[in-house]
Structures are given as structure tokens and as C-alpha cells.
């Protein structure tokens, strides 16, 4: 059993500043006992991945509203791979206004979960907890 507090970074990548969804999820996860870092708006992929590495996070959450989720998620995954932040260890979730057709696309890239508008925050919390547990278990069995 992993007793360590789950550490999450929630990021707004790109130029969009609609941050209430990201702030709300940050607050809910913090209320659920996780350690949450919210980056604030207008982050770049390199700044996020760097922060994720330095903070040694368990979960990366990306929040989008204006339609740039495909590009930014692809770039995030590429850089995570380059920097050795593997999806076998770190949970990657995406939330916001994501058209249904893009949900399966994002999942095919390796995104663990996509949370669209109206998702119950308890679902977000439990999904993240389960994904972290699964990856931790797999990782420790490999080690």
C-alpha cells in the first residue's frame, strides 16, 4: 500500500485563460487529501514537464476550453517521453470542453482519462485514485 500523499499538477497549457474548471478540480483534489500544484494560465509544455519532473508528481492534469487539446496533449506526451516521465508511472488526465470524437483519440494516445463538462467531481477523484493505484502497483511489481 502506498501511504505517500498523491501529488498532482494541474496545468493550463497554451494561451486560453478560462481557469475555473482547473481551479475547481484543484480544490476538489486538495479536499480529497492530495497535494495539488496549480500552475496558473499560459504555461508551455516544457515548463509543465519541467515542473512535473522537479515536483516528482503522480498525476498530470491538463485543462482545455478553446479547442487546442489535441496539439498540446500530443506535445506533452512527446516531451514526457523524451524526459523519461513515463506513462507507466505518471497518470495523465485531460479535462474541459473536449468533443466526444476527440475523447477516444486522446485515450488512444495514452491519456488515462478524459473529463468532459458536467463530470461529477467525485468521479474525477475516484478515477484518479484508481489510476494512481494501478500504476503504482504495476510499477512496484516491475521493480
Amino acid at each position: 500500500m502506498n501511504k505517500k500523499r498523491i501529488k498532482v499538477i494541474i496545468a493550463k497549457i497554451g494561451l486560453d485563460g478560462h481557469e475555473m474548471g482547473a481551479l475547481l478540480v484543484s480544490r476538489v483534489l486538495a479536499d480529497a487529501g492530495m497535494e495539488v500544484i496549480y500552475t496558473g494560465p499560459r504555461q508551455t509544455v516544457p515548463s509543465l514537464v519541467q515542473a512535473a519532473l522537479e515536483e516528482d508528481v503522480d498525476v498530470i492534469g491538463l485543462s482545455f476550453l478553446t479547442g487546442s487539446h489535441r496539439e498540446h496533449t500530443v506535445k506533452t506526451l512527446q516531451l514526457m517521453k523524451e524526459k523519461g516521465v513515463g506513462l507507466d508511472e505518471v497518470v495523465l488526465v485531460v479535462g474541459g470542453v473536449i468533443p466526444p470524437a476527440d475523447v477516444s483519440y486522446l485515450k488512444s494516445l495514452g491519456v488515462d482519462a478524459v473529463f468532459g463538462p458536467g463530470t461529477d467531481t467525485r468521479t474525477i477523484t475516484s478515477t484518479i485514485l484508481a489510476a494512481v493505484e494501478k500504476k503504482t502497483a504495476r510499477h512496484s511489481s516491475l521493480a
Binding site: 478560462h18 495539488v36 478553446t66
Partner: protein, 574 residues
Amino acid sequence: MNRRPAVVADTTSIDEAMKRWEETVRAPSLAVRPETRDEFKTLSGQTVKPLYTPLDLDGIDYLRDIGFPGQFPFTRGRTPNGYRSFKWPHDFYSGYGSGESANQRYRELVKHGATVITLALDLPTQIGLDSTDPLAEGEVGKAGVALASLADAERVLDGVDLARTGLGFVANGIGPYALAIALAVAEKRGLDPADLRHFRIQNDPLKEYTGRNTHIFPVPMAVEMATDVVEYINRNFKDKWLWQWVPQYVCSTQMRWGGMNAAQEVGFMLAHFFNYVDSALARGLPIASVVSKMEWHASTDLDLFEEVAKYRAGRRLFARLMKERYQCDDPEVLGLRVSTWTTGDHLTAQQPLNNLARISMSVLAAFLGGAEHIWAPAYDEALALPTSESTRIANQVKYVIHHECGLENTVDPLAGSYYVEKLTCAIEEEAIGWLNEIDRRGGVAAAVDQGFYQREALRGMHRYQMELETGQRKKVGINLFPAGDELPLNLFQVDPQDEQRQIQRVIELKAKRDGRLVQQRLNELAETAARKVADKRVNTVPAMLAAVRAYATVGEIHAVLRQAFGTFKPPVSL
């Protein structure tokens, strides 16, 4: 003449009768049919009583507090005859992709009778970045169309006759640039800029620090840049078509959608409005010509009565405070024009066609509140950028309600409703508190830096979400009849090639324009900006216009300004 006795509020007898009613009628009924919830609240969280009566009007003086439409305190409306003497501007907010695809949609809209086209700009343009900027990657042409230079604007507006079709911009961080673009396009066409049929620019930077985050400069400089636009239009086009132009309007939309309540919307709108007025007055502009063109751009949420009360409270409080703070008696100043973008946040991605009911209800609320311009969102907006069809429907809802539901017949029909009048007073009172809170914190800029707006929005949003999740509040498709399988909608997608095309065009433009002239104009702009740092009243529009005419890009122009003014560092307060 055989007159029936007037209904007079004899409060003592009503009070007694009501107590009897409570005991002998309501209580027995409740024993059989208990209430379905512990507490009934407005969407903003105000507790609502089961019944309102003339007792709730205690302290309200009809002539002082309600009055007549078109007259102080304007509770019942800015104009005396309401929708009986009213025609809607046929206005669309649209823009996406490369210049060509946006242009195609604008031409379609004009063909279908649009009298005003409001350009949605992409985020890089709104933040003063070129389409070629690495930070812009993935955002070019997404939330709007890219206007990286005058060349883009010429292509985007090609075939749109600006002497016949009005032009609107949602440009808050880049107001002077947007104005310069509009003026330069007009010049290119051989039009006197003053002959533009209509020019309307949001030019409300404070909105960007209090909800939307599309900001560039530190708050005080952003306000001064916005005032440059107001001043330039006032000084240069006086006595021409100025009456048709809107150089600035104050938005509370994003704050509300971000989680603020109805009273906060009113209180913060007033704080921002007064901030702009003070800035314009410091330039020596007459209050009448500034304020009579401005308006309150509000949200209209789904709680019908609360929204109507909010509009009425906003107008009354504005009139009272303008009179008090600026010693002004001019009805053109005191009567607040209200426009609305109804609701952006309470549409659901689940069962999206249900949103048509939500949109209709908020449009109805805007009517009953006396809005003079109503934009409604498209029913598919919680899923993706709207399609051409969903945009058309969004626009036509107001015509259905106007012409088919009896809304045009009489002015302010909910006036005198015990509930609505009481709620109007409650919102007015709470809004004064929020306005004072901003003053107490040292003004809008200080409140932004303290993270105050962000915390308040998060508090409201969290409250609402928890109400949903505990079942205190029901929402169809979310916690009532939650969605099963969805019907596939035909969703809009931006052509992925558009971004590359736009980037290519900016590269080509930079290669073929007169580079020395551009540099010279940018140097002059830098000098102007340096002078503005020393004296905030220096107007940046002339230098901006010269740079735009030379095909300097939005990124080049704002790089110069960032250098001079610095940039805003957003607070993060969880």
C-alpha cells in the same frame, strides 16, 4: 363612473390575514404535502420564501424606487417605450480558422441579413502574438480568426461593405490595435472612417483580469490603453456617426460564468464602470459623450426572477451612484443600456438539445429585464465551437420570443411583483457591499493583485458544484435523467490546415512589405509608449495606426508595448 376600489396594501390586516393563512391553510397542507427540499434558494444562493405579499414592499416608494421607464432611477428601463419601439440589431459573433473560412461565413451572414458582424479573434491575436509565435502553436484560428496584420483584416472582411454592415470586435487587451485595424481597412477601401456604419468594440480589459485571463499589461496601463480608444473616437469623430459607435462596454459576463453571483455581477460591473469613467474624465472628456455610449454587458443566467431583478437593480444602482458620485443629472448618462450574452456556463454537454430550453429561458429573462441587445449561445457550445446551423438558431430564439410570445406589448411587465421588487432591493443592497469591498481593497487593480476575484469565483463555483453533487440542486442530464447514449451531433471542426496557411501568410507578409518603414513606425510607437509611461494621458492610437498602415504585425506592435509597459503576473490563490 362605477370604479372598483383600488387594491390598497393595508399592511396590518394583511399581516394578520397572512398569519391566519399560515396556521389554518398552509400548515395543514404541509402536513399532507411536505416540501421537496429543506431550503429553496435562487441560483445565486439567496434564500427564497414560499410567498411574497404587499408586506414585502414595505419601505419601497413607487416614485422614488421604481418610477417610470426612461426616467430616473430607470428601474423599469432605459427607454420609455421598451420593445414597443424597438428593432434588434441583427448581430453575429463569429470567426474561426484562416481568413478565407471566416470570410466565407461573414459573407453568408451578411447575405442572411446580418447588420453587424462581431469578429471573434483567436487567442494569439487577443494577446498580441503573431500566428508564427511558438506560444501560439495550436491556437491559431481556433477560438476566432487570426488578425496578425492589416493584410489579414483585408482578406477577412473582403466583400463585406462596411458602409452598410457594422463591425464589432471583442478586443480587450488590444483595443487600440483593433481600432487601428478598423480605421485602416476603411481607409484602404476609400471610406472616410467616420462613414463606417457602426463600430463597436468591447475594449474592456478589466474583464480579462477578473475572469477570462486574456491579458497583456499590468492593470492600470491596460485601462489607460482602453481609454486611448475612447478618447480617440470622441475627439476625432465627434458630430459624425459617433452616435452609432460604441468605443467601450463593461462586461460582467465572464465573472458570472466563473462562479460569481448576481449581486457580485452588479457590484463589480459598477466598480469597473466607474474606473473607466474616471480614466476618461482624467483626459478631459465630457462625461455625457463617454457614458452615453457605454453599456453594461451582462450574463443572463437561468433563474428567471433573479435575473430580472438583477437587471432592474443594476440600472437603479447605476443611476443613483452616477448621480451621487459625478453630480450628474443628464438622463443620457444615468440611464444604463444593458446588453447580454445570456449564459455560457450552464449549458450541458449531456443531451445538448435540452440546451434550447435553457437558452430560451435565459433569453426570456433578458427580455423581462429590458436588455437592448441579446446574444444567446449555441446549444452545442459545451461540446465544441458552434456550427453554422446552431449559430442561426441561437440568433433566432429572440425573434421567436419577441414576436410570438407577447413580449413586446408592455414595458417591464414584472414590475410590482412582490417577489421581483423584493429581490431587486436585495440584490441592490448586496451589490453596494461588493462595490464597497473593491473600494476598501484599494480599487480594482489592487483587488486583482490580491487574488480577490479569483477566490470569490472559485467559492461560488465550488458552492454550485457541491449543490449539484449533493442533490440539493437538480440539473437535467447531470443529476436528473443523467445521460445514456447520446445522439451523435454534427459538430464543427476547424480545418487543421488553416493554422499552417495562416502561419505561411505571416511569413510571406514579413518578406514582402517595406521592412524599413515598419521598423521606423515601430520605433515611433516605442517613443510614444515611453512618453505614455511618463504621462498616462499620451494617446497610443495615432502611432498604432501608422504602424498598422505599414503592415506591422500584432506581435511586433505588442512586443514594443510589452517592452515599455511590462506584463501582468496573475496571482494564483487556491
